[in-house]
Amino acid sequence: MSEAATAPKAVEGPLTFLDDRLGSTTFFKRNMKKVFPDHWSFMLGEIALYSFIILLLTGTFLTLWFKPSMIEVVYDGSYTKLNGVKMSEAYASTLNISFDVRGGLLMRQIHHWAAILFMASIMAHMLRVFFTGAYRKPRELNWLIGVGMFTMGMLEGLFGYSLPDDLLSGTGLRITQGVAESIPLVGSYIYMFLFGGEFPGQDIVPRLFTLHILLIPGVLLGMITAHMMIMWHQKHTAMPVKKQTETQVQGYPFYPVFMAKTGAYFLFTFGVLALLGTFAQINPIWLFGPYDPGAISSASQPDFYMGVLEGSLRIMPNWEISAWGHTLSLNVLIPALGPLGIIFTGAAVWPFIEQWVTGDKRLHHVNDRPRNAPVRTSVGMAAVAFYGILWVAGANDVLAERFHVSLFATTWFFRVAVFVGPVLAYIITKRICLGLQRKDAGIIGHGVESGVIVMSPDGEYSERHEPAREQERTVILSKENSRPEPPAVDANGVPAPGSKGPLGHVRSRLNRAWTFDDIPIEEHGHDEEHGEVENGREPKQLNH
């Protein structure tokens, strides 16, 4: 951290004011100059933060008119096509917001688009953090909070989507009911407890409303605060650029540079949401119609962040076990809990597993380049493929309709792809990472092609290579070459620490898998170790 002792003049005045009353100037002084590293991908999380603020503001506007009530009313309003139709008060008030409240439709649309962007940016941000290894010690806790916020965001979105009581949201609730009921032993109790009686009942919308506007936003707000404070305290990770080391941050101070940038980015987020809310229609509940348990529409999909559940449900074979008068609905239970369980549990335990496998207990403030941790990157891509295939499978009827393929064919394709895809993704990503490592080793070992052809006295033509630019070399040399562990059993038959027992055996195997094909990148003379660079797959290690 490069921190100046004094704050800029513009903040000195207010700080003195605060200091005289609260005695906190040193805190502000230190923090106004806190340095933030600069990279476009560090802004992805900010989209989520700013979307959340806009969600709170637009959501408050909507609560002024929305009536969370399942009481049946007969609609009589501006949308004449539904005049005289019986519907719940929740649906009628959403129609009222859309067609009769000034600016109501715009607010509804911005609110919904902000929810989409909130979840999309969380996903993008999590992928950035994962692939750059930014979750490593000391940031595991913040990673866990992030996984928690993603889960909360999904629930918050599902509940909000269910509030207007239109045909699509009712269908979503029907699936929620099915999932609750599929839980062994306690399923029907959970369902009755949640809905307060038979589906759909009168209670579910008011209950979801309270959860949606009070409990979950409160929890999210707390988690966001913790996330930000931990980030502030631990400092943001940085990309491996010149002057950036594990002990020194290269970037711009919070005041005035980063503050201006992040402020501008809030306005950008707001602008994009306003554009989407104005020009792109979202969730047109008046077209869906009021919910009626007897009606259903094709292309009934949830919002995109629930798509992975929808896809799992759609490709699941119809397996059920009936015994002793009870039915175990594997056809609902497995898709509801399996894939997301794998993704969320996997994400949550990954930092600890990686630490255990690599034995790396050091603090990390500089990010890895994805290619320099091929196993991590490949596992990440396998997870992306797994999630992505299930996600797309959730839209299989739309795909079949738009691209004129058979619906059955898509189902069977996804059933196979969900198992084959991640494996393929792992293998391909690993190869690409190693190829890129080899290219980096080539650049450091040989330099870059200069385009100058020289002729030797013998008449041999060759292209002159020049050393890479300083900046590029710094980035490439940020790679930490893997050091093979000592053999599990040394010459005297004494097992190495950490490789004892069956668990230790697994650990050494995994550690070897993590490191064995690493391609060392070292600065050395052009002549020596030529084969090393070309023949990088051999787990040789230079010891100089």
Binding site: L82, Q109, A264, T269, L276, A295, S298, A299, P302
Partner: protein
């Protein structure tokens, strides 16, 4: 008067009256009869000719699959190639031929909608600027309409069946939209999607979209009445004529309704919304982030 009264009493008077009456009837009959006779004969001849035209069109365009007597055909294994057309009625013929589904190009899971063949192209463009071109097009269109009518008449003559609905029965402005929406969501949306943007079915079949370019009110009515391809039949006991008209009103008025919230994104629900959120929303913000981080302050004031 006296003379008539006197004649009434003559013995031959009765015969004379009968004769006179017969003569009068004969004269009146002669006065009208030849004309009606000729018209009827002409009508019958015309109908026969129309029926003949219909049969010729049938033989040319339909018989290769449906059989010369419209009895349907089967392949060697006894699997039906084409169904029998006995009793399908004029409504079915009108729907299949005017939407271009029949004559089919090649057998598949489902016959796609396409431009009707020239002989039945009733949607032919006639708004040409050149009078002779327009006249030719109009003539061709009139012929196509006649061909279709003849074909309908011929197929009906084989076994009856539902008639083409009247224009009044399909007028979308006369139906109850609210009822239509309810009926549409209960009976149609599970395949055609909530506003009729179409949907996929099993085995490569699909429910076609109900857009303006896809289907006319009459065709919607005929489809409900006859249940073409994968569609079930909604006869007049399942959905009354008023119900059908209400559904037509809902479909037509909804597809003509503008999207109050901006671009409708295909009106296919959350899939296109998620795509737009990622591609446009996240896309624009990544561009903004790249731009913001590329901005470097010229110099930082030392303070």
């Amino acid at each position: 008067m006296k003379r008539i009264t006197a004649w009434r009493r003559r013995p031959w008077a009765g015969y004379a009256v009968v004769l006179a009456a017969l003569a009068a009837i004969g004269v009146i009959y002669a006065g009208f009869s030849p004309q009606t006779d000729r018209a009827e004969a002409e009508n019958t001849a015309q109908a026969a000719q129309d029926l003949k035209n219909g049969q010729e069109l049938f033989n040319k365009n339909c018989a290769s699959c449906h059989g010369l007597n419209a009895e349907g055909t089967k392949d060697a294994k006894g699997k039906p190639i084409a169904p029998s057309l006995l009793g399908v009625g004029a409504a079915s013929v009108d729907f299949q031929v005017s939407t271009g589904r029949m004559p089919a190009m090649n057998p598949g899971a489902q016959m796609p909608r396409k431009k009707p063949i020239p002989a039945f192209d009733t949607e032919l463009k006639t708004d040409y600027a050149e009078p002779e071109k327009r006249e030719a097009a109009e003539k061709q269109k009139a012929q196509a309409e006649k061909n279709l009518a003849d074909l309908r008449a011929f197929v009906t003559s084989l076994g009856g069946g539902p008639e083409v609905p009247s224009a009044a029965a399909t007028d979308p402005s006369k139906g109850d939209v609210a009822v239509g929406g309810k009926l549409f969501r209960t009976n149609c949306a599970q395949c055609h999607s909530f506003v009729g943007s179409g949907g996929a079915l099993t085995g490569g079949k699909y429910a076609p979209p109900l857009d303006k370019s896809d289907v006319t009110p009459t065709q919607i009515y005929e489809a409900m009445l006859t249940g073409p391809q994968a569609m079930p039949v909604f006869n007049d006991t399942t959905l009354t004529q008023q119900d059908k008209q209400a559904i037509i009103a809902y479909v037509v008025q909804t597809r003509e309704e503008p999207n109050p919230g901006g671009n409708g994104l295909g009106r296919i629900g959350p899939v296109s919304e998620g795509l737009v959120g990622w591609l446009i929303g996240i896309g624009l913000l990544v561009l903004a982030a790249t731009w913001i981080t590329a901005k470097k302050p010229k110099k930082l004031k030392k303070s």
